[in-house]
Amino acid sequence: MTTILFKDIDEPGLNTIDVYRRRGGYEQLRRVLSTMSPDQVTEELSASGLRGRGGAGFPSGKKISFIPKANVDKYLVCNADESEPGTFKDRELMQKSPHMLIEGIVIAAYAAGANKSFIYIRGEYVEQADILDAAIAEAREAGLIGENILGSGFDLSLVLHRGAGAYICGEETGLLDSLEGKRGNPRLKPPFPANQGLYQGPTVINNVETLMTMPHIIAMGGAEYAKIGTETSAGTKLVSVSGNVRRPGNYEVVLGTPSREIIYGLAGGPPEGREVKLWFPGGSSAPVLEAKDLDLPYDFNTLQQAGSMLGSGAIIVVDDSVPVVSVALKLAKFYRHESCGKCTPCREGTRWTVSMLERVDAGLATPMDLDIMASVQEQIIGNCLCVLGDAMAMPIGSMVKKFRAEFEAHIEEARLRNPYGGAEPDPDPVLIQGATSA
């Protein structure tokens, strides 16, 4: 197995600049600034085939090449608002190797020509933010951030911005609004952030893991990195495995590894005597897959062809002891809470989905409600400014579709357990005129 990001990750004190340097840290930055032009860096990144690790999987080199060359203020924002349920890879990376992130940021900013950079970290990660703050101070003192970095004439400021708890701020335009000191409402696209982002300037937004991979790509060369993994999904990916597994945690896998090997081989599979019922391959926003899909190779394209997505690389395993309705209800409630309320289909759709799932759970629903629920999901997808609504509609829709029999059985069972929805039947029904009592 290849370990790139997780090499030396448990080295004691890797979060200090001395240990990081002893492990070869900041060497790539020095090389980039002294021997490479920004275009060469972008070319290396494009050649590596690196795709964004935050969820959308957009080619990172291409993203940087979209930034206009004009002489205006350009920005680089690191998205460390890791709030996709099931994802915790960035937390481990930032906590244990903050300098690798700083090195990646400076390299990416150099390639994009950005002079101001920000890390937007979610407010809940207090310990990680403190570690990053200390690392940034160390790097500034060592002349790795600030003016004239390593004598190259390249300037870059870096500010750590702490959020305050909102899932939507992980969406790139919501993040920008939040960073500008507003409510984190997503913006209409286009214009895309590459043209008009933070403070209306061209902005590159990258995930923590993507940025941290960049020094390694520079070190081994883009072409060499592209040899790892599959043709369309190059490199290694941190996978956060959680839920009903014996060894939950982050694993670095080569893209294209069979999913069964990750879930059973690395994470130990579900507890004794239980089977995988369904699994989310890319965080809670990804359409669910079943046990029969376990042999799919874990990479961007295969999962997309299977009707799901790799997303942020968070595998959540649900075993056969858990009713699918409770999973759906939990998810829907989360998205209802986190919907920012800007677009009607998402705001109302998430609320209605919760109400209908509660009806299913209470025994008030009929199988027809499942069709209504599916149609609500269809009307959310693609009709909002951002994909938060889709992120609920896709997994819920896939659950209703793939586990319809179980939903129907649940409705029937709940109805028998709870006739009349818990209400007393009317003892003396008033008959409509002309009707006769049976």
Binding site: M1, T3, F6, K7, D8, I9, D10, P12, G13, N15, T16, E82, S83, E84, P85, G86, T87, F88, Q95, K96, G123, E124, Y125, V126, E127, I131, A134, A135, V159, H161, R162, G163, A164, G165, A166, Y167, S178, L179, E180, G181, K182, R183, G184, Y199, S240, S242, G243, P248, G249, N250, E252, L266, S284, V318, V322, K330, F334, H337, E338, C340
Partner: protein, 250 residues
Amino acid sequence: MIGRRRKRAPEAVLTPAVERGPDVLPPVAEAQRTVTRFGHGSRVPGWDDAADLTKDPAEVPDPATTPVAQALRDEIEAHMAKYPDFRSAAIPALAAAQRHHGWCSPEAIEQAACVMRLTPGYLIAVASFYDMLETRPVGRHRVYICTNISCSLCGADELMERMQQEVGDDPDFNVRAFECLGACDIAPMASVNDVYVGPVTLDDVPVLVEQIRAGTPPLPGKQLHLRKCVDPNVTSTGGPNLRGPQGETR
């Protein structure tokens, strides 16, 4: 009253609308009497309260009549200086004001608005959006229990229930179910005054509550920073990351 701006001396204190007499405000319905208001009449944060449209919006607070503690002022100004646009400091400023006042109280918002030269309304809009900015008075011990999907598969709902039973109606505690806290590897988990602990068993709950009350570190053996990487391909060269941000050994 709309269209005719009236200057009223800003009062820093909360005055329930009913105490200010019928000559200042129109008669308030019985149900509205508990709505707390700023001195200038705007309702305090809480997006589901009805807005009083007969009031003029609050203006940028006057520094001469809005006392702000020097430490808080310095902190907010330091945040404002970090960004190209000072308004970016809204969240850090509110977080600082919240640390100072315990919650985003009307005074806290007023003071942050005064330092930032923004209207209280702007900051209320921001404060009511984010989960970690409290728009109601809360206890000082923050216990966030993750009840999202991975944690609830591992028993977070039972943990939440047990925690609420154990804490009871202790006003010092702010126990709340939180959305995914990004630590599903230690599920079920909790963030206790910003320290991540887990997996928290039901038997740990009384111990944990006792530790919080006593002010000692929560579940020292189960804190997140002690956890090693589980990937078998990682060659562990030593213990877990035992050094703190400043390189100190913990």
